[in-house]
């Protein structure tokens, strides 16, 4: 069927997909691999979300109700690891796979076999990591940051955790190399760098971040492994090492990592807003430069996570100012999005709603970030729920919202079906109200002094915790509803037009039918 449509605007002479289950295991097709990534990410999102529900259920009231403290800590640790490495990052890589070749007019990714491996490492890595839930001593429970020496007390789970991270690193680095090679080498003639859609640009820069920091992370956890099993003393003061050294290496990875999770989101928002404002993006080149400066600065701010460990004053000051400087290019972006909408002919379909919510709510997260960046006040906020509120605003209403927006925006292109607009709007309002009920009170809790990563708390925190938990359950349920919407859209629904959205631009909307044929741009398109 797709072949017939395809011949309208594209002479597809490639092979169709193979039949049966093995299609998905052996595939080298960027669209198949993109789909695998996205579905895997959705599954992990639900898995990690279930853990979040356990956390919020325990915190519904003060006192110990449901789980014992050790299991609670396992939940916070595994929730974060799964969401970061299993849900958010693979979702972006899935989008990269689906979109980058189509956006630059390439027949596929540059290294298709390696692309398959990048994906197929993930389920195995998470099998190793999840299996630890059933091991002696339980799953890792020292937090996703895995600080030494606490993490060295992990039971049998410990080596599995380390090796799972090594595998995730291999997968990410291979994925990133593939994306760089694709963008540098596979652009259609005429697709100059400064003509590339911003999603391609942001992923291009993200890929460099990945290649630069994932190996450092692998090094850090390798040191943990040898400290535990082979007698090294990297993080032991007794041997002349330093536990703080671990934090430096971890956050040298960790801070660029949070930008790895937000730069592609910037690209998505920069695609969606112009479409529904029916105006070209305001300040394209400044967006490119802002992205590059954010990426550059992200390497020199890591110790803002460590203001309270006892760094020399010069360090505290440097990292404070450097961190605040990131707000400048980030502000440029927000300004450009708002300017794009200025006097635009706007409509508010679901992707646009999520994009708009992104702009507002991500900015709230950015502001709390700025507060945290001020060293003296971070002494109060550090390791409280204020930090939890901050990073959930940037990650859930930031990264995750952009992924949901992207799903609504491009799903018609991928499947050939429109999602149900009413259902999409219900999903949006349900999510957006509940997510604020969930995370906004956590600012109050943090400012009032509630520490993060604890299963029980003093009664003064009871009210807002209950509110937050109610928001949490509602938000969780809304995402089950989202899964249902996705399922219905894959299965059927109103037929999407080739352009899908009235104001949509770009090769994938203007030069390819909906659904996209299995092979697209086997001959390069003409770029105007």
């Amino acid at each position: 069927m797709s072949e017939a449509v395809a011949h309208d605007i594209h002479d597809d002479h490639g092979h169709g997909p193979e039949k049966g289950l093995m299609r998905w295991v052996y595939t080298t097709n960027h669209k198949d691999i993109g789909t695998l990534y996205l579905l895997f990410s959705l599954a992990m999102f639900i898995f990690g979300g279930a853990m979040a529900m356990i956390i919020r259920a325990e915190l519904f009231q003060p006192g110990m109700q449901l789980v014992d403290p050790h299991f609670f800590n396992q939940m916070t640790t595994m929730h974060a690891l799964i969401m970061v490495f299993g849900a958010v990052m693979p979702a972006f890589v899935g989008l990269a796979n689906w979109l980058i070749p189509m956006m630059i007019g390439a027949p596929d990714m540059a290294l298709p076999r390696m692309n398959n491996w990048s994906f197929w490492i993930l389920p195995f890595a998470f099998a190793l990591m999840s299996a630890t839930l059933f091991m002696e001593g339980g799953a890792p429970a020292a937090g996703w940051t895995m600080y030494a020496p606490l993490v060295l007390q992990t039971g049998d789970a410990f080596p599995f955790l380390i090796f799972a991270i090594h595998l995730l690193g291999i997968s990410s680095v291979m994925g990133a190399i593939n994306i760089i090679a694709t963008i540098m080498n596979m652009r259609a003639p005429g697709m100059t760098l400064m003509k590339m859609p911003l999603f391609v640009w942001t992923w291009f820069i993200t890929a460099y971040l990945l290649i630069a920091v994932m190996p450092v992370f692998a090094g850090a956890v390798t040191m943990l492994l040898t400290d535990k099993f082979f007698g090294t003393a990297f993080f032991s003061a007794a041997g002349g090492g330093d536990p703080v050294l671990y934090q430096h290496i971890f956050w040298f990875f960790g801070h660029p990592e949070v930008y790895i999770m937000i730069l592609p989101a910037f690209g998505i928002i920069s695609a969606i807003i112009p479409t529904f404002a029916r105006k070209p993006l305001f300040g394209y080149s400044s967006m490119v430069y802002a992205t590059a400066s954010i990426a550059f600065l992200s390497f020199v701010v890591w110790a803002h996570h460590m203001f309270t460990v006892g760094m020399p004053l010069a360090g505290e000051l440097f990292f404070m100012y450097a961190t605040m400087m990131i707000a400048v290019p980030t502000g440029v972006k927000i300004f450009n999005w708002v300017s794009t909408m200025w006097k635009g002919a706007m409509t508010f379909e679901t992707p646009m709603l999520f994009a708009l919510a992104f702009v507002v709510l991500f900015t709230i997260g950015g502001f709390s970030g700025l507060m945290l960046a001020i060293t003296p006040v971070d002494f109060q906020y550090h390791d409280t729920y204020f930090v939890v509120a901050h990073f959930h605003y940037v990650l859930v209403t930031g990264a995750v919202y952009s992924i949901i927006a992207a799903a609504y925006y491009w799903m018609p292109k991928w499947t050939g079906h429109m999602y149900n607009e009413t259902a999409g709007k219900i999903h949006f309002w349900w999510s957006t109200i509940s997510v604020n009920v969930l995370f906004f009170p956590q600012h109050f809790l943090g400012l009032a002094g509630m520490p993060r990563r604890i299963p029980d708390y003093s009664v003064q925190f009871a009210d807002w915790n209950m509110v937050s938990s109610i928001g949490g359950f509602a938000f969780g349920l809304a995402q089950i509803y989202f899964c249902w919407i996705v399922y219905k859209t894959i299965k059927g629904g109103e037929k999407a037009t080739d352009q899908v959205w009235e104001g949509a631009t770009g090769l994938e909307f203007e030069n390819l039918p909906s659904p996209v044929p299995y092979h697209s741009f086997t001959t390069a398109p003409q770029i105007r």
Partner: protein, 293 residues
Amino acid sequence: MGKMAHAHSDDSYYVPHGTKWPIIGSIGLTTAAAGFSNYLNGHNAGFTVMFGGLLIITYMMYRWFGQVIQESEDGYYNDQVDVSFRMGMGWFIFSEVMFFAAFFGALFYARALSLPWLLGEGDGVLTNIYLWPLFDEGWPSNGPADLGGDFQTIPAWGLPAINTLVLLASGVTVTFAHWALKKDNRKGLIAWLTATIILGYFFVYLQATEYLHAYNDLNLTMESGIYGSTFFMLTGFHGFHVTMGATMLLVILVRAIKGHFTSQKHFAFEGVAWYWHFVDVVWLGLFIFVYWI
């Protein structure tokens, strides 16, 4: 909606259809990881399992690279594919550089910051007085608890200097091999490649004797505090990379003998040569910062 124009369809990019090697690789990696984990947790059978996993990985690599080599020989790869491979190898090497950077970072941090603090520098005065009052030795150090007991270090101008010469010489010989290949001088290529490989493995051999000397005579072990940690992890990972590099060169040698490569197209050779120069440069860093100063 846009109309398509057709450009260079006769010279299209090679996109393989289906591959089973990645999934086999994943199974291998997971088996090895699970086996080794179990071994570390005290189950000796895990070692065998790990070994099985490594065998699977080796088999996978053999077959996967074998397939790529075959396709290359059959002329499936145009210049654009060649560029993709180059970029892949280049950025892979960069990721390796960053892996070593983590360990160099640990070394610099320990030497420049954490050790001086333990010795009472800056606001570490009271730490030193109350916690480690007798601790007054700088680098090389195994820390205030004297972990692993007294040890001696390996002087830079003995074996390490010879090793530097060996590796630098191998960097020269691999370049001679490249020049020979570019001049279609097959004999020269094979001879210089062989020399490079011998130098490579000779380096590994010398490293091994150095390790034995350290463990047997100097009491310098992995357990010798931060000095032993950084020393063995940096030189150990480097030695591992030299072994891998020399093995890759060996594959190239076999291919050269089989008549693969032309004076124009020989990316596999170049990629491995880049890798070889990379281990060379890392070694220079090691020589300077680990052995010498």
